[in-house]
């Protein structure tokens, strides 16, 4: 397998995103302000609750969960739908389709550079701040390794969902509406807005049968429950893997079937 072409795309992506230093700065500031809002909001919520543990989660658990969910979101959000949508509207997609690389992988790898920079600029600082603020509530052990594995699968699932949604854009030629629907559903059902533990039944059970919880909830639950036995960790990652394979296949087949649909308005 020729890995060099992928590495080149990643490198180009890193260099490209380093160009926009101000954007990165604003993103870091925005992230910090967001941390502050979430911290005070949930502190007030827990102060009014009267008990320290709600639905098996303490204030620190909730804080870590929500903050890292957002950090993961910022780091995983690839704006694939926007990118492909714009490609379709402008006609640039024709050029990308002609490239000697599968379109799906091309888009993924040309974005991968930003994964690297986003990881260093937003995820890592957030992680460190949270670890310091919560005074060692995150335990550093084997769970960290499983967390990383789980995040990587999460990225793949997220990308497949994005790609399926982007393929729908071929038919509708509507980007904003489709994308916002996807974003709302993913953020809510993956636990990024409110931890899934707070969901009332039967919604909680339903979310566990959907692929979305595999994106954010799965890695975060592995990170937070440091003393889980290997079997339950394996179950979480296994579920993720199944979704990962299913969605990859669906997105590839759907794309293949839809490619004939493309109407390019000039170029």
């Amino acid at each position: 397998m020729n890995l060099k072409k992928y590495a080149t795309l990643t490198k180009a992506g890193i260099i490209e995103s380093l160009q926009f230093r101000l954007g990165t700065f604003v993103m870091i500031v925005g992230n910090l302000l967001y941390l502050i809002v979430v911290y005070y909001l949930w502190k007030a919520i827990y102060a009014s609750a009267g008990t320290d543990v709600v639905n098996g989660m303490t204030f620190t658990d909730t804080l870590i969960y929500l903050v890292l969910a957002t950090a993961l979101f910022n780091f995983m959000e690839m704006y694939t739908v926007w990118y492909i949508g714009r490609d379709i509207q402008s006609g640039k997609i024709v050029l990308d389709l002609l490239k000697p690389m599968d379109y799906r992988s091309y888009i993924f790898w040309s974005y991968s550079g930003e994964f690297v920079t986003n990881f260093v600029y937003t995820f890592l600082p957030t992680f460190i701040i949270v670890a310091v603020v919560t005074k060692g509530a995150i335990s550093f052990g084997s769970n960290l390794v499983f967390f990383v594995i789980s995040v990587v699968i999460g990225i793949s699932i997220n990308y497949s969902i994005d790609f399926i949604v982007a393929t729908i854009c071929l038919y509708t030629e509507s980007i904003w509406g489709i994308n916002i629907m996807k974003q709302v559903i993913v953020l809510l059902l993956s636990g990024a807005t409110v931890p899934l533990a707070f969901f009332p039944e039967p919604f909680k059970t339903i979310t566990f049968y959907l692929p979305f919880q595999s994106i954010y909830n799965a890695p975060l639950s592995i990170l937070l429950n440091a003393h889980q036995d290997l079997l339950s960790v394996a179950r979480v990652i296994g579920t993720q893997l199944i979704w990962c394979i299913v969605l990859t296949v669906i997105s590839k087949l759907f794309w293949k079937a839809s490619l004939r649909q493309i109407t390019v308005n000039g170029g």
Partner: protein, 267 residues
């Protein structure tokens, strides 16, 4: 030259608006999907709100219905910025591509002409949702209703909207000075989501920041107090119309200052 009075501007406004609506209607599928997307966003916002309150009876002395009131209030207050000033999102692209120069040659107020070009109908769904939420919580709080209260509500809703419009104008205007102003605008937009929480949950430092530097507290909290807790109004609540005008004036000056020093791209 004929003096351009308010009537003149209104007439022009509706003419430009009609053109925009016509062009939007030619993409009917996109319009319908976008509207559904907007409804999705509102429902998801409400669901996460509902989930939190199922677990916690109150936040910092604010009951469920009072929080719902703030939520509905903020939704209504955020409608004008969504409907009438949506073109701010395109400002960056217009400035970058050089299209902005065309606005500089029109014999009407630059700011007015630019903003009137786009009317975002999707926002009307949010308005309906907001009114519904507000009416529902109003009823459950047993606030009573008379003409004076309605007047107060309207005045304070308008001043709340103006604050948000001012924030967005200022954020959008940064594109005249910096390249990647999308992040600034995105940051400000994300902050409006926190407007629905009572400012009292924050520490004094952030209370100050959210009141005077990033005045999101004026979008729902301060103006709502006038209706919700009339016996215990903060002095800032009563001043919120004045503050709104001041903020708007500042943002207008920043916007115009940037627009007037625009040189075009030479193309």
């Amino acid at each position: 030259m004929k003096k351009k009075d308010l009537r003149f501007y209104l007439r022009i406004y509706f003419k430009i608006l009609a053109q925009d609506l016509k062009s939007k209607m030619s993409y009917r599928a996109d319009f319908i999907i976008s509207t559904i997307g907007m409804i999705f966003t509102n429902i998801a916002g409400f669901v996460s709100f509902w989930i939190i309150f199922r677990n916690f009876p109150s936040i910092n002395g604010w009951s469920y219905y009072e929080m719902l009131f703030l939520y509905g209030f903020s939704l209504i207050a955020l409608t004008p910025v969504q409907c009438l000033f949506d073109n701010n999102w395109n400002l960056r692209i217009a400035v970058y591509s050089g299209d902005f120069i065309k606005y500089c040659f029109r014999p009407v107020n630059l700011f007015f002409y630019y903003q009137s070009e786009v009317f975002d109908i999707k926002g009307l769904g949010q308005l309906a949702f907001g009114i519904g939420t507000l009416a529902y919580s109003w009823h459950h709080l047993g606030l009573g209703f008379d003409i004076l209260m309605l007047l107060k509500l309207i005045v304070f809703l308008i001043s709340a909207s103006v604050v948000m419009v001012a924030l967005q104008n200022a954020a959008a205007a940064t594109c005249f000075w910096i390249q990647n102003s999308f992040y600034v605008l995105d940051l400000v937009t994300r902050f409006k989501d926190y407007a629905k929480y009572p400012i009292t949950i924050f520490s004094p430092v952030f209370r100050f920041i959210f009141t005077f530097i990033m005045p999101i507290a004026f979008i729902a909290y301060y103006p709502s107090l006038v209706i919700l807790r009339p016996d215990n109004i903060e002095i800032l609540s009563l001043f919120s119309p004045v503050i709104a005008v001041v903020f708007f004036w500042i943002s207008y000056k920043i916007w115009m200052h940037g627009a007037l020093r625009y040189n075009g791209t030479g193309s």
